[in-house]
Subunit: 103 residues, 2 copies
Protein backbone atom coordinates (compact mmCIF):
# COMPACT_ATOMS: atom_id res chain seq x y z
CA UNK A 1 0.00 0.00 0.00
CA UNK A 2 2.99 2.28 -0.22
CA UNK A 3 2.73 2.63 -3.95
CA UNK A 4 0.31 3.79 -6.58
CA UNK A 5 -2.59 1.72 -7.87
CA UNK A 6 -1.17 2.03 -11.39
CA UNK A 7 1.43 0.00 -13.19
CA UNK A 8 4.51 -0.16 -11.07
CA UNK A 9 7.83 -1.90 -10.97
CA UNK A 10 8.91 -0.37 -14.25
CA UNK A 11 11.16 2.57 -13.58
CA UNK A 12 10.18 5.00 -16.33
CA UNK A 13 12.84 5.51 -18.96
CA UNK A 14 13.66 8.97 -20.22
CA UNK A 15 13.47 9.12 -24.02
CA UNK A 16 16.98 10.53 -24.03
CA UNK A 17 18.25 7.28 -22.56
CA UNK A 18 16.83 5.29 -25.46
CA UNK A 19 18.41 7.65 -27.94
CA UNK A 20 21.75 7.62 -26.14
CA UNK A 21 21.94 3.90 -25.42
CA UNK A 22 20.25 2.35 -28.45
CA UNK A 23 19.41 4.54 -31.39
CA UNK A 24 22.50 6.67 -31.82
CA UNK A 25 25.00 3.81 -31.33
CA UNK A 26 23.08 1.49 -33.66
CA UNK A 27 22.99 4.18 -36.31
CA UNK A 28 26.65 4.96 -35.75
CA UNK A 29 25.93 8.65 -36.20
CA UNK A 30 27.37 11.58 -34.30
CA UNK A 31 25.28 13.82 -32.06
CA UNK A 32 26.09 16.80 -34.22
CA UNK A 33 24.94 15.33 -37.49
CA UNK A 34 21.88 13.81 -35.86
CA UNK A 35 20.95 17.25 -34.56
CA UNK A 36 21.58 18.74 -37.97
CA UNK A 37 19.20 16.24 -39.53
CA UNK A 38 16.60 17.06 -36.89
CA UNK A 39 17.00 20.76 -37.72
CA UNK A 40 17.70 21.44 -34.07
CA UNK A 41 20.73 22.88 -32.31
CA UNK A 42 23.17 20.26 -31.16
CA UNK A 43 23.01 21.77 -27.67
CA UNK A 44 19.30 20.99 -27.48
CA UNK A 45 19.91 17.38 -28.47
CA UNK A 46 22.67 17.14 -25.88
CA UNK A 47 20.25 18.23 -23.18
CA UNK A 48 17.76 15.58 -24.21
CA UNK A 49 20.50 12.93 -24.23
CA UNK A 50 21.52 13.94 -20.73
CA UNK A 51 17.85 13.76 -19.70
CA UNK A 52 17.71 17.43 -18.77
CA UNK A 53 15.23 18.45 -21.47
CA UNK A 54 11.95 16.73 -22.28
CA UNK A 55 10.81 15.43 -25.65
CA UNK A 56 8.10 17.91 -26.61
CA UNK A 57 5.42 17.07 -29.19
CA UNK A 58 7.35 19.04 -31.79
CA UNK A 59 10.54 17.18 -30.94
CA UNK A 60 8.71 13.86 -31.04
CA UNK A 61 7.59 14.64 -34.57
CA UNK A 62 11.18 15.37 -35.57
CA UNK A 63 12.50 12.20 -33.95
CA UNK A 64 9.70 10.12 -35.38
CA UNK A 65 10.39 11.34 -38.87
CA UNK A 66 14.14 10.95 -38.68
CA UNK A 67 14.06 7.52 -37.03
CA UNK A 68 11.16 6.37 -39.17
CA UNK A 69 9.14 4.93 -36.33
CA UNK A 70 6.66 7.72 -35.82
CA UNK A 71 6.27 10.27 -33.03
CA UNK A 72 4.06 8.24 -30.70
CA UNK A 73 6.86 6.15 -29.23
CA UNK A 74 8.79 9.21 -28.14
CA UNK A 75 5.79 11.02 -26.81
CA UNK A 76 4.60 7.97 -24.89
CA UNK A 77 7.99 7.52 -23.28
CA UNK A 78 7.98 11.15 -22.24
CA UNK A 79 4.41 10.90 -20.95
CA UNK A 80 5.21 7.97 -18.69
CA UNK A 81 8.30 9.78 -17.48
CA UNK A 82 6.29 12.92 -16.74
CA UNK A 83 3.50 11.07 -14.96
CA UNK A 84 6.03 9.46 -12.67
CA UNK A 85 7.85 12.73 -12.03
CA UNK A 86 4.79 14.89 -11.37
CA UNK A 87 3.05 12.06 -9.56
CA UNK A 88 5.77 12.21 -6.93
CA UNK A 89 5.94 15.98 -6.99
CA UNK A 90 2.20 16.47 -6.49
CA UNK A 91 1.67 13.50 -4.21
CA UNK A 92 0.54 15.55 -1.25
CA UNK A 93 -1.84 17.67 -3.26
CA UNK A 94 -3.27 14.69 -5.14
CA UNK A 95 -4.11 13.09 -1.83
CA UNK A 96 -6.43 15.98 -1.11
CA UNK A 97 -8.33 15.46 -4.36
CA UNK A 98 -11.30 13.12 -3.88
CA UNK A 99 -12.64 10.68 -6.45
CA UNK A 100 -16.17 11.38 -7.59
CA UNK A 101 -18.33 8.30 -7.90
CA UNK A 102 -20.21 8.19 -11.20
CA UNK A 103 -23.64 8.05 -9.63
Amino acid sequence: MTDTPLKRGLPPLHPGALLREDILPSLGISVSSFAAHLRVSRQMLHRILSEEAPVTPAMALRLGKLCGNGPELWLNLQARYDLDRYGRELAKELNEIPTLNAA
Copy 2:
Protein backbone atom coordinates in the same frame (compact mmCIF):
# COMPACT_ATOMS: atom_id res chain seq x y z
CA MET B 1 -1.10 10.93 -51.26
CA THR B 2 -2.07 14.29 -49.87
CA ASP B 3 -2.16 13.12 -46.30
CA THR B 4 0.10 11.57 -43.72
CA PRO B 5 0.98 7.89 -43.60
CA LEU B 6 -0.42 7.73 -40.04
CA LYS B 7 -3.93 7.17 -38.77
CA ARG B 8 -6.28 9.66 -40.31
CA GLY B 9 -9.93 10.39 -40.57
CA LEU B 10 -10.26 10.88 -36.83
CA PRO B 11 -10.32 14.55 -36.08
CA PRO B 12 -8.48 14.74 -32.77
CA LEU B 13 -10.65 15.69 -29.83
CA HIS B 14 -9.44 18.22 -27.31
CA PRO B 15 -9.67 16.84 -23.76
CA GLY B 16 -11.66 19.93 -22.84
CA ALA B 17 -14.41 18.84 -25.21
CA LEU B 18 -14.80 15.52 -23.42
CA LEU B 19 -15.00 17.27 -20.08
CA ARG B 20 -17.44 19.85 -21.34
CA GLU B 21 -19.69 17.53 -23.31
CA ASP B 22 -19.62 14.34 -21.29
CA ILE B 23 -18.04 14.36 -17.88
CA LEU B 24 -19.34 17.57 -16.35
CA PRO B 25 -22.94 17.14 -17.53
CA SER B 26 -23.08 13.50 -16.46
CA LEU B 27 -21.75 14.45 -13.05
CA GLY B 28 -24.13 17.36 -12.85
CA ILE B 29 -21.44 19.43 -11.18
CA SER B 30 -20.62 23.09 -11.69
CA VAL B 31 -17.37 24.28 -13.21
CA SER B 32 -16.53 26.16 -10.05
CA SER B 33 -16.90 23.24 -7.69
CA PHE B 34 -15.14 20.91 -10.11
CA ALA B 35 -12.22 23.33 -10.19
CA ALA B 36 -12.28 23.56 -6.41
CA HIS B 37 -12.03 19.76 -6.16
CA LEU B 38 -9.15 19.79 -8.62
CA ARG B 39 -7.41 22.39 -6.45
CA VAL B 40 -7.09 24.62 -9.52
CA SER B 41 -8.43 28.09 -10.25
CA ARG B 42 -11.77 28.04 -12.00
CA GLN B 43 -10.32 30.30 -14.69
CA MET B 44 -7.80 27.62 -15.58
CA LEU B 45 -10.52 25.01 -15.89
CA HIS B 46 -12.55 27.39 -18.05
CA ARG B 47 -9.65 27.70 -20.45
CA ILE B 48 -9.35 23.96 -20.74
CA LEU B 49 -13.10 23.66 -21.35
CA SER B 50 -12.89 26.26 -24.10
CA GLU B 51 -9.92 24.34 -25.56
CA GLU B 52 -7.52 27.24 -25.12
CA ALA B 53 -5.29 25.56 -22.55
CA PRO B 54 -3.78 22.09 -22.82
CA VAL B 55 -4.04 19.29 -20.29
CA THR B 56 -0.54 19.17 -18.83
CA PRO B 57 0.81 16.06 -17.07
CA ALA B 58 0.06 17.67 -13.72
CA MET B 59 -3.46 18.51 -14.80
CA ALA B 60 -3.95 14.97 -16.14
CA LEU B 61 -3.04 13.61 -12.72
CA ARG B 62 -5.62 15.87 -11.10
CA LEU B 63 -8.33 14.94 -13.58
CA GLY B 64 -7.47 11.26 -13.36
CA LYS B 65 -7.75 11.30 -9.60
CA LEU B 66 -10.97 13.27 -9.47
CA CYS B 67 -12.70 11.31 -12.23
CA GLY B 68 -11.31 8.03 -11.02
CA ASN B 69 -10.17 6.83 -14.42
CA GLY B 70 -6.48 7.59 -14.17
CA PRO B 71 -4.34 10.23 -15.89
CA GLU B 72 -3.46 8.30 -19.04
CA LEU B 73 -6.74 8.95 -20.82
CA TRP B 74 -6.38 12.70 -20.50
CA LEU B 75 -2.75 12.74 -21.42
CA ASN B 76 -3.34 10.52 -24.45
CA LEU B 77 -6.13 12.76 -25.69
CA GLN B 78 -3.87 15.76 -25.32
CA ALA B 79 -0.98 13.96 -27.04
CA ARG B 80 -3.06 13.14 -30.09
CA TYR B 81 -4.33 16.69 -30.19
CA ASP B 82 -0.80 18.07 -29.97
CA LEU B 83 0.58 15.75 -32.64
CA ASP B 84 -2.10 16.90 -35.03
CA ARG B 85 -1.59 20.57 -34.20
CA TYR B 86 2.20 20.59 -34.39
CA GLY B 87 2.18 18.20 -37.30
CA ARG B 88 0.42 20.84 -39.35
CA GLU B 89 2.47 23.68 -37.89
CA LEU B 90 5.81 22.02 -38.63
CA ALA B 91 4.77 20.38 -41.88
CA LYS B 92 7.24 22.30 -44.02
CA GLU B 93 10.15 21.73 -41.69
CA LEU B 94 9.32 18.04 -41.21
CA ASN B 95 9.47 17.59 -44.95
CA GLU B 96 13.11 18.59 -44.85
CA ILE B 97 13.93 15.93 -42.27
CA PRO B 98 15.00 12.67 -43.93
CA THR B 99 14.33 9.18 -42.61
CA LEU B 100 17.45 7.22 -41.76
CA ASN B 101 17.35 3.62 -42.87
CA ALA B 102 18.37 1.24 -40.08
CA ALA B 103 21.20 -0.33 -42.03
